[in-house]
Each structure stands twice: as C-alpha cells, then as structure tokens.
C-alpha cells in the first residue's frame, strides 16, 4: 500500500470518526497545555531570575577569610584583599578568558543631588567600587564613555559649565554650598564628569520601596542616564568616619550594568585607584577586593570555580545556584504532574481506540480480505493517532499560550508593581512547541500501539463470514 494511499485512509477515517477522536484527545490536550504552560512559565521566571536578578555569566572571586565571632564582632582571619599577584594567578587558571579586578572605595563618600527629578536634593552615604571598564563595555550608553579622564594641564579656566563642553563642568570651589578641602581654592576650571554605572537593582529598589517611603515619583531608568550629581569623598553621615581631607567631584550616570554594585555606584577602576591612593598611599592602588572571572563557556564554571578555590580563594555565592535549583525543582514537579496527565490521557486514548477498533473490525477485516497487509492496518491506526497527536499538541500549546496571555494581562493591569515585575511571565520558544507536539504525538501513538496491534490481528474470516 503506497504512502499516499495510507494517508488517504488516515484522513478519511479521521474525518469520519472526528467525534471520537475529539473526545479521546481532551485528556492529551489538557496534559500538553499544562506541560507547555509550566515549561514556558519556568523559562520566563528563569529569564527574570537568572538573567536579571542573578546573571551567571561570570564568577566573583573574593579573598578567603575565616570569620571568627567575638561577641557582636566577627574578626577576619586571613587575607582581606587580593594583590596583583593573586590576580595573575587567577588569570593563569585554564579556561579563564579574562579576569577583571574590582576595588572598593575605602573612604566614606556622600552623594548630593536629585533635585531635578525628585524636587529635593537627597544627601546619602554612597558605597562604591571600581571596575575594569572592559567588563562593562556593552552596558555604557553610546553617547558616553566609561573611563578615567584625568584633568590635563594647563587647567582651562571657566565661568560656566557651558564653557567646558559636553562632558565637563566648571569646578568653582568657593561657590559650592558645603565645606570641603579644595585643591585649588579661588580658581574655577574645567573638569570632566566622572562616569558611573549603577545596577538595575538600585532602580528596582528605588521604584519598589524607597520612593514609597519618601513619596517620590517613579524613575524611568532609561531617562535618568546622563543625569549628574555631586559627591564628596571623605565626607560621611557618620561623623566619626569623616576624613580630615575632603574632595568634591561631579559624577554622571552613563548606564546600567549587571556587573555594577547592587547598592552603590560603580566607577572606572583607575578612578577608585586614585581615590584610595589619596587616602591610603600608593600601595592602595594594588589592593583589590574581588576579581570577576569570565569563563569561555557556562558549563566550565564549575571546574574553574574548583581550581580557583584550590588556589586559596573563595567564590562568592551569587544566589543564582540556589535560585536556579529552586526553579528547576518546581518546574520538574509541575512537568511531572503534566506528564502524569498526559500518561493518563494515553490510557484513555487506548480505551477509545480499542472501542473504535471493535466498531471498525468489519471494515478492517474487509481491508485485510481485499489485500491489506498487517503492517498497512497498523500504519493507518498509528498514523491516525499521530495526526491526532499533532493536532492535540498544537491545540494544547495554543491554549497554554492563550492562558499565559490572560495571566500577563491580569498582571499588567490588576497586579501592583513589585521589584522585577516582568512584562510577561512566560517564554514560549520553538523548543517548548516542538517538545510539546512531539510529546503529544508520542503519547498518542503509545496509547494507540496495542489497539493497532489488535487491529492488525483482526481475523477477516471471523468478522466477515463468522456468525
């Protein structure tokens, strides 16, 4: 029997028995719908959690220190910083593409600004670190640069910011409203803004929590790029921590980055090296606090971590491992439930098929008497099941897609904002669709397998001429 003839039989029989097939596929549609729904949900949640909350493209290496609790205080035993030598050693580990040392600002700093957007100047203590500009090249807004631009001699005198170009401001020390140590009192000259990066977390926390406490407007992260404010290095809200020297700078936000500090500002590394040198001497420029390690491929992360730990460093737990584990387990639970539904549906399909084959035994017997082979009969029955499977799979995915749209709609318009609230909780990619349809086809054909064998064994003599 030719393939074309077989398909003609399959289609004509599907059309003739469409009611039976529709009934028999309800279970499989439900199962496939659940399966693709949970898969897409898990992919969507993973995307937010692993892509935005805990990006895991890199490793964060920190010095190994043993915390010893002494009353309320934990005394650190071992190194508290990484030297240039440590950085070189980490760079030498196989499969490490590149290392990017990071340095915390070791002097307190206060930021002042925000009037333009919030109606009032905020004055807050700022934590900051320096990062290798190479690590964040892609995150910097195209109209700005993320680099240290030292003031070049001779100094260009000025009266207004406009005289200092797009990336500069007029540094007019005596007219500033707070007290600080000025390097060149009485002389106004042009300076570059210091570029800083912030983390998306900061915006999320501001929009989700801070602004509610202070009744500020919600910030659009894209819009605040380019905004500038003042920082006073050496100043602190904790009076005891105030340094004897203070330096004033203006900083400008040039982008958001996954690599940026969660609660703080991220400067180009040379800037922080300079800051720390100002207060702690030349050696501070070579004292790093962590190293970001880029690995060739994600799957090498485990091996590289192990090597680095053997070198005597620690890997900072980003929380990503735990988060992805929880997502994985939850997803597996739901997928197993979906598979059980699909499995039960396959049993249901088997019953319907046995019934159908009983009903159609004369037809099958006649086909056999007229020359159909056993394999022809089996092929036709399995082909019917396969087609039903494809259709159920598609219907299941479409239903899952529709319900995800409904949920996203409800979330968008009826659920209040929360940090990292995604515009969609679902990711339907080709993988979900293909897997769902294959699964559906597989289980339909599995359900039809025994009925097909029985059909192939129908005895034409009995059903056509028997009493």
């Amino acid at each position: 029997m030719s393939i074309k003839k077989r398909w003609q039989f399959i289609l004509s029989s599907l059309i003739r028995h469409r009611k039976h097939f529709m009934l028999s596929s309800i279970g499989i549609v439900t199962g496939i719908m659940a399966f693709s729904f949970f898969w897409a949900l898990s992919a969507g949640v993973s995307q937010v959690v692993l892509g935005e909350i805990f990006p895991v493209k890199t490793l964060e290496v920190v010095p190994r220190s043993l915390g010893v609790n002494v009353g309320p205080i934990q005394l650190g035993l071992g190194a508290d910083a990484l030297t240039q030598k440590s950085v070189t050693a980490i760079q030498a580990v196989p499969n490490v593409t590149k290392v990017y040392p990071k340095m915390k600002v070791t002097t307190p700093m206060v930021g002042v600004g925000g009037k333009k957007y919030l109606g009032n100047d905020l004055q807050i203590e700022i934590l900051a670190e320096g990062i290798d500009p190479g690590l964040v090249a892609g995150d910097v807004d195209s109209q700005f640069k993320f680099e240290a631009t030292p003031v070049s001699a001779p100094l260009q005198s000025c009266k207004t910011d406009l005289q200092c170009g797009d990336n500069g401001y007029c540094y007019d020390a005596p007219n500033l409203s707070w007290r600080y140590q000025n390097l060149n009192p009485g002389f106004a000259y042009c300076r570059h803004y210091i570029p800083v990066l912030a983390s998306q977390h900061l915006v999320e926390i501001f929009n989700g929590v801070v602004r509610r406490a202070h009744d500020f407007p919600k910030l659009n992260p894209q819009f605040v790029i380019g905004y500038d404010w003042d920082i006073i290095l050496g100043s602190s809200v904790v009076r005891r921590s105030e340094a004897s020297k203070k330096y004033h700078y203006k900083v400008r936000l040039v982008g958001f980055s996954d690599q940026a500090m969660w609660l703080g500002l991220t400067f180009p590394l040379p800037v922080v090296q300079k800051f720390n040198t100002l207060f702690h001497g030349a050696e501070a420029a070579q004292t790093f606090h962590s190293v970001t390690v880029k690995v060739d491929r994600k799957d090498q992360i485990a091996a590289v971590s192990q090597k680095i730990e053997q070198l005597g460093f620690d890997i900072k737990d980003s929380g990503a491992a735990r988060a992805s584990f929880i997502i994985l387990v939850t997803t597996l639970v739901f997928l197993v439930i979906s598979l059980i539904i699909v499995g039960v549906a396959a049993v249901n399909i088997m019953h319907v098929y046995f019934m159908l084959i009983y009903e159609r035994q004369v037809e099958i017997g006649l086909m056999r008497a007229l020359g159909a082979k056993r394999s022809d009969i089996r092929w036709v029955i399995l082909g019917e099941a396969g087609l039903v499977g494809i259709m159920s799979g598609i219907v299941g995915v479409v239903l899952a897609l529709l319900s995800s749209q409904v949920i996203d709609y409800i979330s968008r318009y009826y659920v209040p904002d929360f940090p990292y609230k995604p515009s969609s909780y679902f990711v339907f990619d080709a993988g979900v669709v293909v897997t769902a349809v294959l699964l559906s086809v597989g289980f339909c054909m599995l359900g039809a397998y025994f009925p097909a064998s029985r059909a192939a064994k129908v005895d034409p003599a009995r059903v056509l001429t028997g009493q």
Partner: protein
C-alpha cells in the same frame, strides 16, 4: 501427466476446537473455468472451506494449492498479496463501505495493490465492471441508496477489479429476494460462460446449484459427495 488444476485441496483437516470434526480429509480439485456450487447443511464447514481456499484462514492441516501456489508456504504479507490479486470475494452481506461511493468501493482493492498500475487505468476498469454488472448509473451514489441486488452487483464488480483467477462467493444470494437472486445467478453464469471465470459458490439455493457446472455436497465431518454434473 494431467494438467495441474486451478485449485487442489489434499487431505485438508480443520477444526476449531480439539476433538471437533468440521473438515476431515477433504480432497478436491477445481479446474479452470469451472462453476462449482458447494452445498451442505448448516455447520458442515462450507464457509470454512471457502475461507481456506481464499487465504483468509491459514490455520489447518493438509495441502491447499491455488494457481500453483501452496498457500501454507506463503507468509502473511504474501497471503495478503494473494488475496488481493488472485481471488475475489463475494459475501452474503455485501460488505460495502457505507462512506465510499460505489465506484470508490469497487476501487478499494487497488489501494492494496503492490504493483505499479496507474490509478486512472483502475478507474476505467472499475467503470467498465460497473457497466458489465448493470449498475453503471450508480457509480457515484452511496451503497445505502441501492437495493440489495444492486449492492451485491457492486460487490461483484469489486471482486473482479484485480482480474482474479477465482471468484469465491459465500451465499451471495442469501440476503436477496428471489428475483434479485436469479439475476445474480444469471450474472455468474454469464461471467463463467463468456469470460471463463472460475467461480465457487457456497449456497443453500437449489437454483444456484442447478446453474453450476458441478455441485459438491459437504457432509458433516468432511465427507464429500459429488453431485450430478450438468
């Protein structure tokens, strides 16, 4: 040496349950172009014998040879091919598929044909057969719209589509009124006389037996009597 017969049945034994006696040592020859009627009491094994010759039943002892093929040596697929191209079946209850038109019903065996014949050739053949059996104008109607006699004619056309050597009919007139039955018997006689078709008809109907060139009477437990030849 005698020319080989179309059907040779030798020492055929068949029972469905142990100790049962349905066919026991049946020996039978049917020559090419014969019109044979098989008669016998209900339960004597007529249908069983016909199914064995037609390759629908391969669970028996003894030898059955049709057109030089020893049926017991054929695989299941080969038996399917044999049923498709060497024999045509006509059943008491027609067994036409209700969802197919008469023409499509006649064409059904061609779907299982393993040769490379062209579809249009089959369609022409089917239309010619429908005309020959006298229901040409019903080709595109569904079987439900036809009388019993007409349905049986369509079934006969279907049995003839693949140009079999042997037509096996199990009580073909059993469900028909006398007039239609007479027409069908007439058709068999014509097929046999004009085209030399070998026909084996199982029947209770004395009229059929009279038209046949030979009558074989089956008795319970396979004892056979030859009827008078016409």
């Amino acid at each position: 040496m005698e020319a080989i017969s179309l059907v040779v049945v030798g020492h055929l034994k068949k029972n469905y349950q142990p100790k049962q006696c349905i066919l026991n040592d049946v020996n039978l020859r049917i020559e090419d172009a014969e019109f044979v009627a098989i008669t016998g009491k209900s339960g004597s094994g007529k249908t069983t014998l016909l199914n064995i010759i037609g390759g629908l039943d391969s669970d028996y002892e003894g030898q059955v040879e049709v057109a030089g093929k020893v049926l017991s040596t054929l695989s299941d697929d080969e038996l399917s091919a044999y049923r498709n191209s060497h024999v045509g079946f006509v059943f008491q209850s027609f067994h036409l598929m209700p969802h197919l038109s008469c023409l499509e019903n006649v064409l059904l065996p061609s779907a299982f044909n393993q040769g490379k014949a062209v579809e249009t050739a089959f369609t022409q053949q089917a239309l010619a057969l429908l005309a020959m059996v006298g229901v040409a104008e019903k080709a595109h109607e569904f079987p439900n719209c036809l009388s019993g006699g007409q349905q049986q004619r369509v079934a006969i056309a279907r049995a003839l589509l693949m140009q079999p050597k042997l037509l096996l009919c199990d009580e073909p007139t059993g469900s028909l009124d006398d007039e239609s039955a007479g027409d069908i018997i007439q058709l068999f006689a014509k097929l046999n006389a004009e085209q030399g078709m070998t026909i084996v008809v199982v029947t209770h109907d004395a009229d059929v037996a009279l038209k046949a060139t030979r009558t074989i009477h089956l008795r319970q437990c396979g004892v056979m009597e030859e009827g008078q030849c016409l």
